[in-house]
Assembly symmetry: C2
Homo-oligomer: 124 residues x 2
C-alpha cells in the first residue's frame, strides 16, 4: 500500500477494476478516516491541533498518515509564513467529497457499536 495516486489511476484503467476496492485502497488505514473526519468537522488545522483531535495517535504515525493522504491527493499541506511559521492541513476537493463515506461510517458506529450502553436500542 501507500501507492501513489498515479499508480492507482493506472490500475483503474484495467479490466477488473472495482470502485470499492480502489476506495478501500486509499482510505483503509487505521487513522485515515478519523483524520478526514476531523478536518471535515473542524476545518483546516495545524499539526498539533490535529494530533490533539485524533485521540491516541503518535506524532510519527500522524506524520506518516498525512504524508500518505497527501500522496493520494486527499489532503493539502500549506505553510503559512508567519513568525513563527505555521503549517496547515486541509482537505482537497477530492478529500472533502469523502464526506458521505465518513458520515456513513459515523452513523454505523453510532447505531451498531454504542448500542450496548444504550437502553433504548434493540440491538445487542
Amino acid at each position: 500500500m501507500s501507492e501513489s495516486i498515479e499508480s492507482i489511476q493506472v490500475w483503474c484503467a484495467g479490466e477488473d477494476w472495482c470502485p470499492v476496492t480502489s476506495t478501500a485502497t486509499l482510505i483503509c488505514r487505521k487513522w485515515h478516516p478519523v483524520i478526514v473526519h476531523r478536518l471535515l468537522n473542524a476545518g483546516p488545522m495545524g499539526f498539533t491541533e490535529l494530533k490533539d483531535e485524533v485521540d491516541g495517535v503518535s506524532s510519527k504515525v500522524l506524520s506518516d498518515s498525512l504524508e500518505d493522504l497527501q500522496s493520494k491527493n486527499l489532503v493539502d499541506r500549506s505553510i503559512i509564513s508567519e513568525k513563527p511559521f505555521r503549517v496547515e492541513y486541509s482537505l482537497t476537493s477530492q478529500g472533502a467529497e469523502l464526506e458521505p463515506v465518513i458520515r456513513a461510517m459515523e452513523d454505523w458506529g453510532q447505531n451498531n457499536l454504542r448500542a450496548p450502553a444504550d437502553a433504548n436500542s434493540g440491538r445487542f
Copy 2:
C-alpha cells in the same frame, strides 16, 4: 487488530470513544469492503463463488478475512448438509447495515478514480 467484537464493545464504553475510529477498526482491511459489497449485491455465496467474485484474493487471505468478519459479527457462515456439503457466507443484520458505507465508497471511487478515463468529467 482482529480484536473480537467484545473487546471493541468494551472500548466503546470508554471516554474518548469515536464512532469513526471504531467503524474503521472493523472494516479497514484490504478486502473487507469488497467482500461485504459482493455479499450485498449477489447475496449468500459459497467460498469459491466468493473467491471468484473478489478478484485477486487468495484462498488463504479470503479465509482469514472471512474469519475476521465472523468474529466481528458482520458475516455469518452456515454449513448446508447436502451431498456434498456446502458452506454459505452471508451478511449478518449488522453487516447488511454497512450498505450505506459501501455504497458511498463505491460512488466515491466511480466519481473520483474512474474519471481520468472519461472525457465528460472535469476532475483530473
